[in-house]
């Protein structure tokens, strides 16, 4: 078998493992949700889950001259919202327009006005060419894990007045910042699947 074909088979097997693992995680979440509902129905005390909201992004007031880096097509990323992370560095969302016109958002840690990530204890600004999440539709969201926190971020269309995020039954709302950017920071252990986001 050629190495290129062998690599494809190795990737297919890894994909099988990933899909199987995703299904197991989904079943566990379903069982956990069922258990929580049962406790509530039985009149138990409030159930503490890991899905605790830590902070909601605040708009960056004066973004002039605060672009942090460029993405392919030389589009410049601008920091739009920041939120407390509960750690040393706050989190932030940068926005840019991709070469094909898509509206994009990228989340990371913020030092000063620079977007990046802490790797092995050292803050490293995002390198040129690193891309975020984009969508041709007008409003979108994505989720990620940064420094052990679960983040929900994205961009809302101009007409959207409020973004409502519901995690494990707990709703939280925020007004979108510049460019429709928004950011919600949750405690570690919050599952990234099953998050409901509505643009209202």
């Amino acid at each position: 078998m050629r190495a290129t074909d062998e690599l494809r088979e190795n990737l297919r097997e890894a994909a099988q493992r990933q899909v199987a693992a995703d299904r197991v995680r989904a079943r566990r979440r379903h069982r956990r949700a069922t258990g929580v509902i049962a406790l509530v129905l039985l009149g138990g005390a409030a159930v503490a889950t890991a899905a605790d909201l830590i902070s909601i992004g605040e708009p960056v007031e004066d973004p002039r001259g605060k672009s942090s880096y460029t993405v392919p097509g030389d589009a410049r990323v601008q920091l739009a919202v920041t939120a407390a992370s509960g750690g040393a560095l706050p989190f932030g969302v940068g926005i840019y327009t991709a070469g094909n016109g898509d509206r994009c958002a990228i989340a990371g840690q913020v030092r000063g006005t620079t977007l990046g990530a802490v790797e092995r204890g050292v803050f490293r600004p995002f390198a040129a060419g690193r891309t975020g999440s984009c969508d041709a539709t007008r409003s979108f969201f994505d989720t990620g894990t940064i420094a052990g926190r679960t983040v929900v971020f994205g961009r809302a269309a101009a007409a959207v007045r409020s973004v409502r995020v519901t995690v494990e039954g707990k709703p939280a709302s925020a007004r979108p910042g510049r460019g429709g950017a928004f950011l919600f920071v949750y405690d570690s252990g919050t599952p990234r699947e099953g998050i409901d986001v509505r643009f209202e």
């Binding site: 050629r2 190495a3 290129t4 062998e6 690599l7 494809r8 088979e9 190795n10 990737l11 297919r12 097997e13 890894a14 994909a15 099988q16 493992r17 990933q18 899909v19 460029t70 392919p72 094909n100 390198a127 040129a128 060419g129 690193r130 891309t131 999440s133 984009c134 969508d135 041709a136 539709t137 007008r138 409003s139 979108f140 969201f141 994505d142 990620g144 269309a157 959207v160 409502r164 986001v197 509505r198 643009f199 209202e200």
Partner: protein
């Protein structure tokens, strides 16, 4: 009225189908692997390195497939090539291919045979680049040419390049990086490569 995200929409993208279907990921690989391999080979001029970069790129694509938000084949291709460019950038900067996603996904990388290497070189048209490359190398400033020769041809590590040139490792890296960027420019590679090499 609330606007719901169209996450449940039916997509023709192989990458979207691959979120639930391992065979779709294999089809995604079949659709783009050759193009990505040619992309890497024409830039690093080393088929073994290009194949390692290809492997890490697809492992990252597998790992991040749920982050893809596009709905058209050209979007999935653009998304894949953004990963590829990022891997190339890491390679230029660090001098070695990152293998973190391969490790996390548990994907072994098979070795290439000599006939396969020849086939890929032919596919990428590496032979056609030999004469222009020699001209471009000859036109490099002496310090950059020697740094590139040590790093790329003699396959020295950056510490050894620095030792042999009598400069700091940081300076050695800078000379190799500048030399490769100049070569890319003279070989009329796309602007993206220049960004990658920065």
């Amino acid at each position: 009225m609330p606007v719901r995200l169209p996450f449940a929409r039916r997509s023709t993208c192989l990458l979207v189908q691959a979120q639930e279907d391992p065979d779709a990921f294999a089809a995604f690989y079949d659709a783009y692997a050759e193009r990505v391999l040619v992309f890497f080979t024409r830039r690093v001029l080393d088929v073994d390195v290009a194949f390692d970069l290809l492997s890490e790129t697809f492992a990252k694509a597998l790992e991040r497939r749920r982050q893809f938000r596009g709905s058209a084949p050209e979007q999935e291709q653009g998304w894949l090539f953004s990963i590829a460019r990022s891997e190339l950038s890491h390679y230029w900067r660090d001098g070695h291919v990152e293998r973190s996603a391969l490790a996390r996904m548990g994907v072994p990388v098979p070795g290439l045979t000599d006939p396969e290497i020849e086939r890929i070189e032919q596919l990428a048209g590496v032979g056609e680049l030999a004469a222009p490359l020699a001209d471009a190398m000859a036109a490099l400033p002496e310090d950059q040419r020697r740094a590139v020769e040590l790093r790329v041809i003699e396959e020295c590590g950056y510490s050894e390049v620095a030792l042999r040139l009598g400069v700091s490792e940081q300076t050695a890296r800078a000379r190799v990086s500048r030399g490769l960027r100049t070569l890319a420019r003279r070989l009329r590679e796309p602007a993206a490569l220049l960004e990658d090499a920065a």
